[in-house]
Symmetry: C2
Subunit: 139 residues, 2 copies
């Protein structure tokens, strides 16, 4: 079963809690790094062989809309699905060594985004900032 905080975030987004959603959330919660579609499907199917492909992807989409899950693209490597502790919009520092992801709160980039936007006369809807490298622990 997924943690209470995740379950309440699902409810807060106006979505039902079903065994399938709970399972997907739990699998992501227990992983400490982004999971690819394949890894996720495998992990979920290992626990409930009857779960449908479409359901898993639909669930991922709902969880993304609820801001619980993010899809992290990675230049070169394959991205994945990540259950984020931080609930608002935020950014990521991805360690290429251990795979762990550190959240970078929006506040830490807001001023910079604003400055760039001003300089270019650009009205920003969405900013995405991703760093990949080696985390403090792995160095």
């Amino acid at each position: 079963m997924a943690s209470d905080s995740v379950r309440s975030r699902i409810l807060a987004a106006g979505q039902r809690i079903t065994p399938q959603r709970d399972l997907v959330a739990e699998v992501l919660e227990q992983a400490d790094r982004p999971l690819s579609a394949q890894e996720l499907l495998a992990a979920v199917e290992a626990r409930d062989r009857r779960i449908g492909r479409a359901t898993v992807f639909r669930t991922l989409q709902s969880l993304q809309e609820a801001g619980i899950v993010q899809q992290v693209p990675r230049p070169g490597g394959q991205g994945g699905y990540l259950l984020c502790a931080t609930s608002g919009h935020h950014h990521h520092l991805v360690c290429q060594r251990c795979g762990r992801v550190e959240d970078l709160p929006e506040e830490e980039v807001a001023a910079f985004v604003g400055a760039v936007a001003r300089d270019h006369g650009f009205a920003v809807d969405h900013a995405s900032f991703e760093l990949s490298g080696t985390c403090a622990a792995c160095r």
Copy 2:
């Protein structure tokens, strides 16, 4: 035929110039916004029906390695392939209205990336910064 500057960048990367590469580069050069895989395949096949799928993707990969083409991911929408005027590493401001992409040189983000990395004890290999919104012209 693609522009001389693009052709010389292909050569500089130690790659041969073939009619197929030239064609892919030309199609991208003539588009002023990122093209999806489908659009690109269609545009390329419209000019040379005999060109192979694999060749187009291989070419895209070579051009990416040569820093001539970038693959821009887009949150929500589908990303695409973009021929970049700027040759070094850089970032993008993508207009959701007209689709045009403005380059943001690495220098404009380097200091910020450095500061974030320092604060988090993170050694940065690669930084990706993408803004989407509305460009000055469309506003």
